[in-house]
Amino acid sequence: MTLAGSVAQAPRLGVSSHPWVRFGVRRVGRLLVSLWVLVTASFLMIHLIPGDAVRAALGPTAPASLVAAKREEMGLDDPILVQYWHYLQHLVTGDLGTSIVSQLPVSDVVSQRLPATLQLALLAFVVAVAVAVPLGVTMGVLTRRGHGRRTELGFTTTSVVLGTIPDFLVGVGLVYVFGVNLGWLPVAGNDTPSAYVLPVLALAIGPAAILSRIIRVEMVAVLEADFVRTARAKRLPARTVYLRHALPNALTASLTLGGLILSAMVAGTVLVENVFAWPGLGSTIVSSILNKDYQVVQAIVLVYGAGVLLVNTVVDVALALLDPRSMIRED
């Protein structure tokens, strides 16, 4: 009531108060704050490690002079704010530092490994959404208002089970069935198109199950909404009621949770890549953590974090396109 009241009373001003402009300003502001938090966290990561990060990376046998020289080179002895300032400066120019282990520029490592991870995440993303939306909507319509109790039980149980099994275990199962047992598909690397099948499936099955379950629940809820009753009172055909009135609202409701799941897929590549020896960022970050190559870890955390923020932003924009109220709700 209060929201609608204040909206209705709000005076009409110039372009600057256009909801899209306000939404854009606010959304970009939030993105910048999140980015700043991310960058700061990744900067602090190295400083929060107990003990000397350089000593840890070079090993206990390295001579003290070498450690000191390396610390000097990396500027680790400067005051922390100075280091922070340099870190930000370097970031802006795309300089991510040098790997302490391989001596290669970190930006080279990242740009070499990023495409494989992007391919994996995007493909899995598309597969998950393409399966979840039609499946969720269909199930929602079939199980509305206590219809299809058995269908609902079967679908919910299956999707809960599939959604709970973590992607790397799905991966292990797929490797066993299709690689070891049947020998149909390759289980490592990304050299052939067929090598994509198992990793993409491993990454997409869980999110597709969860997403379709969310969409079903939202669809069932939306079909109970007053405005759907209004649509039925207009005596529109069932198809129009479902697709024109219910679906967009079910999707907006699902998107908020769905966004979290989709951004979790970005991070899910870490584990899946390790199952399938996928030459991407995920396998690199794990080996770098084990090798204590913190410069590389720092950079990859940054890239993953940025990827998540990107997904979140895209979801919010999609939400605003689907449901104009969501732009105001955030106020």
Binding site: T164, P166, V172, D226, F227, N274, I289, I328
Partner: protein, 637 residues
């Protein structure tokens, strides 16, 4: 506690409970029983497949995979519980910060939580794993802290919603301090969802831990949890796949058990009795109620809506419920009929039933249900949809929720004309703009391009009426159309309905809980109680012509601008009838000052008198001594 136990009643809940208990028992017993078997090195059997001696084969030192998987249960579960404890404690601190520390600090904490929660758990866990170092302890904190923002956000949402409830405000006003408020009022009322989510979180922590150990970042040799066994087993998957599959299966079973247990508890606590409601038996197409040679008090041509013996049935946990129990009435062309009653009287369901909008699982039966002479009981045909879509229009109670929030107003109106009158997009929109103008919406061209949330409440309700005028309605059914509106706006909407009725000779059925509203707008008033019509009388002079004690009490209980200020208001003791538990005899008897033994035993029929008025009461019109029956019987439940 009883509600928690109801988890065991569903097959899924029972399975999950048994599995969870099994995992916990195994975690306690396995290391005591089988540690030696798990550590025994069999050098003759390195990386062997399954055999009678080693059910899941052996690892690269010839140790038995099966026993190692069993023994690993304890460490896996312990670590998961430890990580969950970290997540819950930190999450509770974060989530209650804004309640305890005040708005300013709370806002800062909430902003931080909102940023952190956007990052997936595994990414946060990796981040913290780097800081805390590789190993089991580091991983406990990593996974715990990674789960904290999500738990914190949940807590914060729950605490905010309970904290905004009036009983918390009331306790604040009474001078109860913040800490006591939190522990006495807020936390007890959010504890159930928190416990449920912590259980689900434990399942998640178990899986995450397996993930970290699988990456080599969690448990280190010589200790082993399931994830570590997986890490060791995956490299030899072509030699002995069971070295990976056995611990993998254990992780899945345990993770699923906790997860499903949590979900089943959530369902058992949240959804309550639903699920045990049996469906209604299928209704035969033939008439259930015999058509009586009902007396006709109207010319058939003149009647817009004719309803006989209308019953609405819903399935309930203890058999079918009949919120509407056999009512009959007719509405003539241009006539305005008001239906009044309290919540649960069945008035709104009556409106939905005559409009054929009672959805599953409800069922509508009648010996006659006709709109403009067409039988609405027939199955849903195109012709019937056309008739209903153009001749009957609905106005619902809440204009805030009755429009599709994702579509522009103009389109929602135009849809009717496009579908039922076959107009093109442009013509339909032009008609929509015209209709908006006809319900006195200023600048309708501009308004048609706006979304519902850009309209005020009164404007939306007028637009809803305008939508009903897209066709050429013979009947408008308005279900509490002004209840959600302010008084001055309410008057505009009532005026609009009145003028449309006069101008287009449209009949109106107005459902309301407010006798005065109905008395002002309508020609005739139907009073409903417990699913039946108890009185049917002209609206002109309600106070003088009311004969049913309930109608008379309703009129006397609500003050109007002429109420005697020195006399107490009449009261109706007790509470309205629960549709699931309608007493025999007259449903109003328990609250009625005139009730006799006959009223308790025999339901009075709705009798028509010489003047065409109807009343269902054995003591209609008898004088009531308006003594103050102020003392409610508290134990009359």
């Amino acid at each position: 506690m009883k509600r928690w136990l109801s988890v065991l009643r569903t097959p899924l809940g029972l399975t999950a409970s048994v599995l969870s208990a099994g995992v916990l028992v195994l975690a306690v017993l396995a290391p005591i029983l089988w540690t030696d078997d798990a550590n025994a090195v069999d050098t003759g059997n390195i990386l062997a497949g399954p055999s009678a001696d080693h059910w899941a084969g052996t690892d690269n030192l010839g140790r038995d995979i099966f026993y190692r998987t069993l023994v690993a249960t304890r460490l896996s579960v312990e670590l998961a519980l430890a990580a969950t404890a970290v997540a819950v404690v930190v999450g509770l601190l974060l989530g209650t910060a804004s309640f305890l520390l005040g708005r300013r600090i709370g806002r800062l904490v909430n902003a931080a939580v909102n940023i952190a929660v956007a990052f997936p758990g595994i990414l946060l866990a990796l981040f913290f794993a780097v800081i805390f170092g590789v190993g089991a302890t580091g991983a406990v904190f990593a996974i715990g802290l990674a789960g904290a923002p999500a738990f914190g956000r949940l807590t914060q949402t729950l605490v905010a919603s309970v904290g905004a409830r009036d009983y918390v405000s009331a306790a604040r006003v009474a001078g109860v301090g913040r800490v006591r408020l939190l522990f006495r009022h807020v936390l007890p009322n959010v504890s159930e969802p928190l416990v449920v989510n912590a259980t689900i979180g434990a399942g998640g922590a178990l899986l995450s831990f397996a993930g970290l150990s699988f990456l080599g970042l969690g448990v280190q040799q010589p200790h082993y949890d399931w994830g570590r066994l997986l890490y060791d087993g995956i490299s030899s998957i072509y030699v002995n796949p069971y070295a990976a599959l056995a611990p993998g299966a254990a992780v899945i079973v345990a993770g699923l058990a906790f997860n499903l247990f949590g979900e089943s508890v959530a369902k058992a606590l949240g959804v309550g009795v639903v699920g045990g409601v049996p469906a209604l038996p299928p209704s035969p197409d033939a008439l259930e109620v015999e058509e009586r040679p009902a007396e006709r008090h109207h010319d058939h041509d003149d009647v817009v809506l004719d309803v006989r013996d209308l019953t609405v049935t819903f399935p309930g946990p203890e058999g079918p419920i009949h919120p509407v129990r056999g009512i009959s009435f007719a509405v003539r062309r241009g006539e305005a009929v008001g239906v009044v009653g309290e919540s649960g009287s069945g008035k709104s369901l009556t409106a939905l039933a005559v409009s054929r909008l009672v959805g599953d699982p409800g069922r509508v039966e009648a010996s006659r249900l006709e709109l403009l002479g067409a039988d609405l009981r027939a199955s849903d045909t195109r012709a019937q949809r056309h008739l209903l879509g153009t001749s009957l229009s609905m106005v619902f109670q809440d204009p805030m929720t009755s429009f599709n929030p994702t579509q522009r107003m103009g389109g929602q109106l135009a849809e009717v004309a496009r579908h039922h009158q076959g107009l093109g997009r442009r013509a339909a929109l032009a008609r929509a703009v015209d209709r908006l103008r006809s319900v006195r919406i200023t600048d309708p061209e501009h308004r048609a391009h706006q979304y519902p949330h850009e309209f005020s409440g009164g404007m939306r309700q007028r637009a809803m009426i305008g939508m009903g005028l897209m066709g050429t309605p013979a009947l408008i059914v308005a279900d509490e159309p002004t209840t959600a509106l302010d008084v001055t706006v309410q008057q505009q909407v009532l005026d609009l309905l009145t003028s449309i009725r006069a101008a287009e000779d449209v009949a109106l059925v107005l459902i309301s809980h407010d006798v005065t509203v109905v008395g002002e707008v309508c020609d005739r008033v139907l009073v409903m109680y417990a699913g039946t019509i108890v009185e049917d009388l002209p609206a002109a002079d309600l106070a003088a012509s009311a004969r049913h004690p309930y109608t008379r009490a309703l009129l006397a209980a609500v003050p109007d601008m002429h109420t005697d200020l020195d006399a107490p208001l009449a009261t109706v003791p007790g509470r309205p009838v629960d549709p699931a538990d309608v007493p025999v005899g007259c449903a109003f008897a328990a609250r009625c000052p005139l009730a006799t033994d006959r009223c308790l035993a025999e339901q009075p029929p709705l009798e028509t008198d010489a003047a065409g008025l109807r009343v269902a009461c054995w003591h209609a019109g008898e004088p009531i001594d308006i003594a103050i029956q102020d003392r409610e019987q508290v134990d009359a439940r």
